[in-house]
Every structure is written in C-alpha cells, then in structure tokens.
Symmetry: C2
C-alpha cells in the first residue's frame, strides 16, 4: 500500500514516526511522498526508516506549492499507482481548506483519503456531498476519526450505532480539550477559585490554547465537531438544505475583544471581563452546579448547540472530568437510560496521530 503524507507539522511528523515504528513484517505501508509547507519529496521506492526528518530537510526536493503538486506530479503519481492496481492513501495532516477541496478529485480516481482536517467535513455541504459521491463511485474510502476527540473512538462508535440501526437520540459532551481544561479549573464544587483570565492565561502558557485564545473561546472548534457528527445522523439530514447544519454557538469572547489582533493583547485585556464570568460561576454554585462548555446534538428537537451550560456537581461532567479530557455521551434507543460514554485526552499530537494511523490500519 502506498501512502502520501501531506503536512509535516506536529501531527504529521508524529504520524510518520508511528507508521515507521510498526513492526516491519506486518507493515504493508510504503510512504512514497511527504510534503511540508515548503517542499515535497516523492520517493516511489519508499522511505528509509531512520532519520527521515534529516534526509527530508537536506534533500533537493521540489519546492513547488503542495496544492500545485497535488494537481500535477504528485497527483499523477498517485493515479498511476492506483491504475497499476495498488492501494493508495492520501493522508492529509494539514488544516488546509484548499487541500480539502481536492479530496473529491482523488477519491474519484480511487485514492483513499484519511485526515484529521476538519475542513472538508464541517464546511460547505456541496464539498461533503462531492466527497461522498466520489467515494461511492470509485469505492475509495475516506476516514476522519481524528477530527473529533483525536484518538478516541468517537466517529467509529457513532457510525457503528447508526449503521447497525440504533437510534441516536442525543449526543452531549465536552468536545474541546481547551474548554475542558479551562472550566475544570475555573468552575469546581468549591466556593473559591482562580479568575477566568488567570485560567485562560495558564492554559495558553501550557500550550493548550491556540496562539490567539479567542480561536478556542469563540466555540467554533466545538461547532465544527458537532457539524461533523450531525452529518452521520440520518434524522438530521433534513436540516441540511441550507448547505450547513446550523450550530447555535455561544462565543465566550467578550464582544469588545472581538477584533483584537494578537493573542498577547487579548490576554492583557481579558481580566476586565472576569467579573462577568465570576457572576456566572457563583450563580451556578448557588444551584449546586458547575459551568461546562459543551456541545449538544438533540435529535428529537433537532437543536444543535455549542454553549456554556450548568451541570449538577454530581454529573459526570463535574465529577469525572479532569485535565483537558474530552467526554462524549451517546444516548440511544439500545443503550436506554444510561448512555454509552467515551472519555480521555481529545487533543495532542501523539493521540491525534494514533487516530489517523488507526484509520490507515483499517486497510490491513
């Protein structure tokens, strides 16, 4: 099997390392191309196991833009391999919208696509439908387990529930590792706690937020994940005609800070708004509750929302979450009153790459 890896960032590099570490006799994968944002390496004979990073850096490889290459040399190479009867997989470890636009083209040509890139599955419905159609026409597969919950088996579980005929009535969870960390620390069952801005600052220092924390606090990442999951639920398909499943998203970015350009300025200005968050926390605690930023897909009422909600101090979102855990509850007909729950780290290069590699291993 031939694998082309696009994206050599944290996840991409970790993915190549994990793939090259598979036990050799059972490793049927030949990485024949790697692209960084700066250059692309095509080696139909496959990569040497050790020191691939150094070899890549020092090689005189094609420095054309990846998208251009995917449309020319690299694209042609993949298609040639498919025509020769090989299984070919494009692993897109970028978050590029432009590369996502190319998926239908490759799927049509019989190239399988695996990605943690949320763009193709949470943006315009036309692209999503083109992907489905292209895959069906050629038989090529696309897998995107790592787009929700990183290495946690969230999408595969939802697919299994739906394809085996269970009825999913509600999915509810903490889908953002960043939001999880922030509220696990900000809102606990004890009366006093750190200020909201201090928790966000610490999360940023620990590398849990995007460089600009507003990119987490605006809830867009959670909304994208809810969109991805919603599209697997047959009962929600009637909501699709607008081209998007509309997610009612509560942004935690104070309106006055909406247009602040840099993360540093944002962090400096945030304490001004601590009082407002403090009031919410106190109000929750007076009801015996904590605050959690959750995503909810309620199939019965057809509402999908990413928002700040209050949960009883005895609820699993209060008692069992810690660190930057994700937790996802599937309420279904077969599981009855007690949901199927999946919990664990939902971000980080190692677990995200593992999710991508698990998708690849489905081909074995």
């Amino acid at each position: 099997m031939y694998v082309a890896v696009v994206g050599k960032g944290l996840v991409g590099a970790e993915f190549v390392d994990q793939l090259l570490s598979l036990p050799v006799p059972s490793n049927p994968f030949n990485i024949f191309s790697i692209s960084s944002s700066k250059k692309t390496w095509i080696r139909p004979q496959g990569l040497v196991h050790t020191e691939w990073k150094k070899a890549f850096e020092s090689s005189a490889s094609d420095a054309s833009d990846t998208v251009t290459l995917l449309k020319s040399t690299l694209g042609t190479e993949m298609e040639t391999l498919v025509k020769a009867g090989h299984k070919v997989v494009l692993v897109d470890n970028t978050s590029s919208d432009t590369i996502a636009q190319l998926y239908p083209r490759f799927l049509s040509a019989g190239v399988n696509v695996i990605t943690p890139n949320k763009k193709a599955f949470s943006s315009d419905l036309t692209l999503y439908e083109e992907i489905l159609t292209a895959g069906m026409s050629s038989g090529a597969k696309f897998y995107n387990e790592s787009t929700v919950g990183a290495g946690l088996p969230v999408i595969s579980t939802l697919k299994d529930l739906v394809t085996t005929g269970d009825n999913v009535s509600k999915i509810e969870g903490v889908f953002s590792g960043t939001m999880s960390y922030i509220f696990n620390n900000f809102s606990t069952s004890s009366r006093n706690g750190p200020t909201f801005s201090s928790v966000v600052t610490k999360a940023r220092e620990l590398g849990y937020t995007e460089p600009h924390p507003a990119d987490d606090l605006n809830g867009a990442d959670v909304a994208r994940k809810l969109t991805i999951l919603s599209r697997f639920i047959p009962e929600l398909l009637p909501l699709l005609p607008q081209g998007y499943i509309s997610v009612d998203t509560k942004s935690l970015v104070p309106p006055a800070l909406k247009n602040i350009a840099t993360g540093d300025e944002f962090i400096q200005a945030l304490p001004t708004f601590d009082d407002a968050m403090e009031r919410l926390r106190t109000e929750a605690l007076q009801e015996g509750k904590v605050l959690r930023y959750v995503g909810v897909i309620d199939v019965a009422t057809q509402t999908i929302k990413a928002s700040l909600e209050k949960y009883d101090v005895n609820h699993a979102f209060a008692t069992s979450l810690g660190g930057s855990d994700n937790i996802i509850m599937f309420h279904t007909n077969r599981y009855g009153e007690r949901p199927l729950i999946i919990q664990g780290a939902g971000a980080g290069a190692a677990v995200t790459a593992m999710g991508v590699l698990s998708d690849l291993l489905r081909f074995t």
Copy 2:
C-alpha cells in the same frame, strides 16, 4: 457476501433481525444458513426479509446436530462459496466449546469468523494459536468485539492502541454487568443499604444474573474477559507458556454453597452469608470507600486479577457507574495520567448483537 448464522437464541435472533433491517441498497449480506440448537436451514438463495422466524420454525430442515452439519453439508457449502470467490462469514452466536473448536478449520478454508462466544479466546492457548495461524495462512479474519463489553468498543480500542504502538500499562474496569448492578446497589456512599442476598435476589428477578447466580458470583466471566484482553498485549505474551494466562480470581460464592445444584436453593441459602458481606461494606465505608468487583490487568507487575476491591467514594467506579454499566479504563503511555475510558451497558441482546453486526460491517 454470504453469512451463516449459528445460534438462534436471544443474541442470534436479534442479530438476524438487525442484519435484515440494514437499508437494502447498502446491504451486501446474504444470510444463506441459520442453525438453532434443533435444526439447520441452508438457503443459498438467501432469506426472505420478513417473517424469517416463522418460516424457519415451519420448515422441514435438516435436524442433524449443528456440529455434524458444520463438519459436513454446511461446512462444504461454505467452502464451495469461498472457492467460487465469495466472501463467507460464519457468525457463531452460541457459547459452545465444540463449535469454537471448529474455527481453525474454517479460517484455514478462508471462511471468516465473527463471534460473541468467549470460549475460543479464553480457553486453551493451543486453540487460540491455531486460530491465529489459520487466519494468517488464508487471510480470513476473526473478530470478537462482543466478547468483552458487548457492543462497547473495547477490543477494537485495545487493538488500535497496541497496533499503533502505544504502551498499555494497565487496564482496570468493571467487566460484568451483573457484578456492576449488584455492587452499585449494595455498596454506596450512604451508611445503610440492602443486604447482599436481597440485591442478588433482585438482580436475578430482573434477569441480570445467570439462572444460577453462582455462575456470575464466581468471577469466571470476568476472568475470561481479562484473558481475552491480555492476549492482545505483547508484554504479557511471556506469561503464556502454561497454555493459560493465569487470572487470580476471587470467587464471591461462599465455600459452603459451592456445590449447590440449583439457583433457587442457592438464593435460599445466601442470606446466611450476609453478615460477612456487611462487614466488608462497613469496613470500606469507614475508609470512605465502596466495594466494586473489578478486573485488573497490570502490565508492569504482570498481575491479572478478578477481585473485590475498595474504591474511594470519589473514584469514577463509585460516582459514575449505575445500572449494570461496564466501565473500562485504559492507562497508556500516550494517554498519560488520565486514562481513556469507555462506559455503558455491557450486556443485553440488543447491544451484544450490535457488536457482532459492527464486526460484520468491517467487511464492507
């Protein structure tokens, strides 16, 4: 794809119903044979969707023993289909040891095997190794997701962790729905509670126990599940030379009741032993703990045990379990200090059949 279903009990019948309910255009499966304990039906043209149970009951089908048929007519039919280039899957929904013994034969012949039957994977190592070898020689697959946690993605998650190169250091969980129900009700954070025998009696009335509750209380079911999981962990393979991975199993059957023949007599005699369980409960509570019957695989110390343990009232096994939930925690290198957790109903025909069907859908 051709599917032969052996076993038409609760899980078997539910499996056939679920399979026949798959949307028709995307249902590539042709159930060409069904066996109950009384007779076998072979219909190479496939089953009619509706009313298959009635048709089965009223048909004049071969009443030979299933094992005999698997070795003759049915076996030959499966092998003929394989030779004709079809994908053939044997779905064993029994708990028969004799049928499990036949897996290597069919796997060698290219017949894929899917089963919730724990026997083949938790008994003699020779059989297990024959299964692995047979599958590797022909390329036929065997999947057994439902043997642990029913429809919960426990085995697939463990396989993904291991095959992608993560190091599993510990697996800890409540693996028996029966034991979960009993201890969730018997041992809570409040001082007073029902007697042990009354909880077991109620569990039996609700159908949560085997007809003879000693078959649950002896811990053997948990030990089997631990054996199945252990065999996926490379670091534990050195423990295998005895032919079994030895599971240190704590039975909750009072020694004096070990040889009681019927479930009814067992239930009648159980109250005599309530004091002993009551002492354990009180002792735990004095330490701020509850009792849970758990399975633990500790890779570092190479100990595998099924036993009654005490957990802090704030531990997830105390706070987040309810009903007859299973919960399984995977402690791994990549997940770090916070384990990957899977929780939900781990028994029942609907979710068990769903796990079996999910395994079958991997072939699409």
